[in-house]
């Protein structure tokens, strides 16, 4: 069976995460801001009694805060033993991946290339497959971009 993807939109682009990377999808109710945190960290939210670090994917790729609206849903994933919630424009649907991730001539752009595995085809068209763990390790990249 083909791998299942979670389709999402980040800064207006069609993106996807591997469903196996995503623990669950939550509706973020409140975000507790963390002063002095890097820009791309919106703060903390909770899933049951677990604190999640909220990463705003749009800021990771260098967009200004608030440039894109969000539907407040977030994908929860774990990286290096910590749990994160990824804020995106919207989380759409799940779909099957057709074929393997491919690179395109000229690349996806500096920031995108770092967090993307490659372009994959789905029944609904091509999407950019992202590496969840890379989004969490993004500290310096975000600052360069912003």
């Amino acid at each position: 069976m083909a791998e299942v993807l979670i389709l999402t939109q980040i800064a207006g682009r069609a993106c996807a995460l591997r469903a196996s990377d995503v623990e669950t999808v939550i509706e973020i109710e409140t975000i507790t801001p963390v002063p002095r945190a890097p820009k791309h960290i919106s703060g903390l939210t909770t899933l049951r009694s677990q604190a999640l670090t909220v990463i705003d994917s749009r800021i990771v790729i260098g967009e200004a805060p608030g440039a894109y609206p969000t539907d407040n849903r977030a994908a929860v994933f774990r990286a290096d033993g910590h749990s994160y919630a990824l804020r995106v424009d919207a989380l759409h649907d799940v779909d099957e991946m057709i074929g393997d991730p491919e690179q395109i001539v000229g690349g996806f752009g500096a920031v995108w290339s770092r967090i993307a595995e490659g372009m994959v085809e789905t029944a609904g068209g091509p999407v950019l497959l992202l590496k969840a763990a890379e989004l969490a390790r993004t500290g310096e990249g975000a600052r360069e971009a912003s």
């Binding site: 801001p33 963390v34 903390l44 909770t46 009694s49 604190a51 390790r137 500290g139």
Partner: protein, 719 residues
């Protein structure tokens, strides 16, 4: 199969740890039958389990030891020193082999076991043990690993879950830590759900149908939470069990005679804490034996007994564990330490002259100081004491050394009971809440206090709290927030770091003190260098735990030299307190000076007058959305704007006690003079030459206090 192998290794390790102490005790008294039995069961179990796997060498060696020990048990041979050494050698070899199996390596040279087996041979008889290795006891053991146990201790019931049973340990099972953590977080979830439900129930009003079962649920939940917390605890014995062997080996190597005395093995510690202190303790014990204790000749020459005393003790006081390692050796050499510290640039000559012995002794915990002139395999190995100190401070503990020349030295390790639950002072700045670890908090002062003084010195801010001038940091500035209150309306938290550095932290308000469960932070948040963890409040909101040592360092308020000289002496008062009562002295509304036991005072509340309700028979005030009864109020003496109260609490009931002025805390003598007639006065005590009434907080709380929701909710909610 791999799982079985992992279990086998873990089980063997556990048993090995558990019998370490037995072996040494057996060596001291080879005729001790119970020790012999324990060791026999160990090799027997190892042998049995080996048959299951294909470890012919391990089986051969354990078989040989088993046979020899069986002979000793049946009285066919008497264990002598030679025999004990041979058995010890075999046990070490088993250890090495198990380690080799675990690493998948061949660390143990082929044939290494034969000399050990040969050493077991009873010199007085010709009966050589390992003739029959190929027989098949293994089949039985495959099916019933406990068969040996039943043979050895027929009156014990079979313990299907207890693989450690052969060493008469309490029944236990092995669980992955992940699972424990999951159960713990599940219980935390339940507590949060309970708090949520409690809020909704209280909004819905009194409902006897539901309230009863709900109370029951609350009780059960708090029991379960306690039990879960205990699941993470281990007896410090596990750690101490390795010391007899360490001490024995070191004393043999160094030709010293040592009597080891271990106490407090039954103290329980969080497993994580045990891991944190394992290496430091070994290091300190090595140091004590390597440097502290003298050789028998030196000791005799100094008029001491030939054998050095080494004591390792653990003691629990409140939510801290103190571990003391004491030797009666030559003590720390202050001159040498100071000389070295000056030579290495840790302190200057003038600082050195200003330091007393105690301060010099603490230098042993500074990085870059080793008085060992040559590195042997005893000292100079593993971690330095500076790393030990840093590790302890990271978990909220501290370490100190005391020494008397020629009479010995003691190292005290103070460790929090658990890493994951700490008492936190919940403070607020710019509308956001942050937790301050309670262990750092010396005292809390309001800016409105008459003896508070606040001065700007350039960009720096100094506050004077009761005559003591301290550098003040604004939490709002540190975090890049806008404080909501003017500096003088803020609250100042006096922080004392583990190394004695002090500074005041200005926050907008202080809410309460609660036990909080600290969870690790993601790397992106750790790099802010402001926080050390996160926790959930009882309303389910996350709260950040401030990393005060890091903040102090980044703000440059850590002045190693000054701190050490000015403050470390006052660390001393942590020893056993004399018979005194710690009390808060205050002037009551009626103008008389009174005192209240400090442990009964939860905090000081300042309540605006409009929130005090005098219309009822008993006055009340609203504090943080709670209605609390008031005692000691004199309307005539009330200030126009606000009134200060001592919030008394016994954990279940709270009460506000009105005061005109708060003086200070004081140590009062414990000889109390009871007074008749006034039930609200516990006794008269002597303070500064005058008699002061000690108010009877218990009676006050029982007669006038109110049961608080907050008291219970904070306590359980935080977990």
């Amino acid at each position: 199969m791999d799982d079985l192998l992992t279990d086998f290794i873990a089980e063997t390790r556990d048993m090995m740890e558990a019998i370490e102490g037995e072996i040494i005790a057996w060596e001291a008294d080879p005729s001790d039958r119970t020790r012999l039995d324990a060791i026999f069961r160990f090799v027997h179990t190892v042998k049995g389990n080996c048959g299951f796997f294909d470890f012919p060498r391990l089986e051969r060696i354990s078989h040989a030891a088993e046979d020899a020990l069986a002979d000793a048990r049946s009285g066919r041979r008497t264990p002598d020193q030679h025999f004990v050494s041979a058995v010890l050698g075999i046990i070490d070899c088993i250890n090495d082999m198990v380690a080799a199996i675990e690493n998948g390596s061949k660390d143990v040279p082929d044939g290494a076991e034969y000399p050990l087996i040969a050493a077991l041979v009873d010199t007085k008889s010709t009966d050589c043990a390992p003739q029959d290795q190929t027989d098949a006891p293994s089949n039985e053991h495959v099916l019933e690993p406990e068969a040996g146990l039943r043979q050895a201790a027929p009156d014990q019931p079979p313990k299907p879950t207890s693989k450690e049973a052969p060493i008469s340990a309490p029944r236990s099972i092995r669980l992955p830590v992940d699972l424990l953590d999951r159960v713990m977080s599940g219980v935390s979830d339940m507590v949060l759900a309970r708090n949520d439900l409690a809020n909704r129930l209280s909004q819905a009003g009194n409902q006897p149908m539901i309230d009863g079962p709900f109370e029951r649920l609350t009780t059960i939940l708090s029991d379960v939470r306690d039990a879960i917390t205990r699941m993470r605890m281990q007896r410090v014995e596990l750690l101490f069990n390795t010391f007899p062997r360490l001490v024995r080996d070191l004393s043999h190597d160094l030709g010293k005679k040592i009597v080891l005395d271990i106490e407090g093995s039954d103290v329980e510690l969080d497993r994580e804490v045990i891991e944190v202190i394992r290496d430091p303790l070994v290091h300190i014990v090595r140091n004590a034996i390597g440097h502290g204790l003298e050789t028998p000749e030196e000791r005799l020459a100094a008029g001491k007994s030939e054998a050095g005393q080494l004591r390792i003790g653990a003691r629990q006081t409140g939510n801290r564990i103190t571990i003391v390692i004491t030797d009666d050796g030559r003590g720390l050499n202050e001159d040498k330490i100071a000389e070295k510290a000056v030579a290495n640039g840790l302190i200057t000559q003038s600082q050195r002259e200003a330091m007393d012995d105690y301060q010099i002794q603490q230098l042993v915990f500074e990085p870059g100081l080793s008085t060992a002139t040559q590195v042997s395999n005893i000292s100079g190995r593993g971690v330095g004491l500076d790393v030990v100190r840093d590790n302890l401070e990271r978990v909220g503990g501290w370490i100190k050394a005391t020494s008397t020349p020629g009479q010995g030295a003691s190292i005290y390790l103070h460790i929090p009971l658990t890493l994951s639950i700490i008492a936190g002072l919940i403070s607020e700045v710019a509308g956001q809440r942050f937790a301050i670890p309670q262990s750092y908090v010396e005292e809390v002062e309001y800016g409105s206090q008459p003896d508070m003084d606040y001065t700007n010195m350039g960009d720096a801010v100094l506050v004077t709290m009761r005559g003591q001038r301290t550098r003040c940091l604004s939490l709002a500035d540190i975090l890049g927030l806008e404080a909501e209150l003017e500096p003088l309306d803020q609250t100042f938290v006096l922080i004392r770091l583990a190394n004695g550095d002090q500074f005041a932290l200005a926050v907008d308000t202080i809410h309460n003190i609660g036990d909080i469960v600290v969870k690790p932070l993601s790397p992106a948040l750790l790099q802010t260098r402001c926080y050390s963890g996160t926790a959930l409040l009882d309303n389910g909101q996350p709260i950040m735990l401030l990393d005060l040592p890091q903040i102090a360092q980044d703000c440059g308020v850590v002045d190693e030299g000054r701190a050490r000289i000015d403050n470390s002496a006052s660390n001393d008062d942590d020893g056993e307190a004399a018979e005194t009562i710690t009390a808060m002295l205050f002037t009551a509304m009626d103008g008389n000076r009174k005192a209240a036991r400090l442990e009964m005072i939860k905090r000081i509340e300042t309540v605006p007058t409009h929130q005090i309700d005098l219309s009822q028979a008993h006055p009340h005030a609203v504090v943080n959305d709670e209605i609390l009864p008031i005692a000691g109020l004199e309307i005539a003496a009330m200030n126009a704007e606000k009134t200060r109260f001592l919030r008394l609490s016994d954990g279940t009931r709270d009460l506000l006690y009105a005061v005109r002025e708060i003086e200070d805390t004081a140590q009062l003598p414990s000889d109390l003079v009871p007074v008749a007639g006034d039930p609200l006065v516990e006794a008269l005590v002597l303070a500064e030459g005058t008699s002061i009434a000690l108010i009877d907080c218990n009676t006050l709380l029982q007669t006038r206090g109110t049961q608080t929701r907050a008291g219970a909710a904070i306590e359980v909610g935080a977990r």
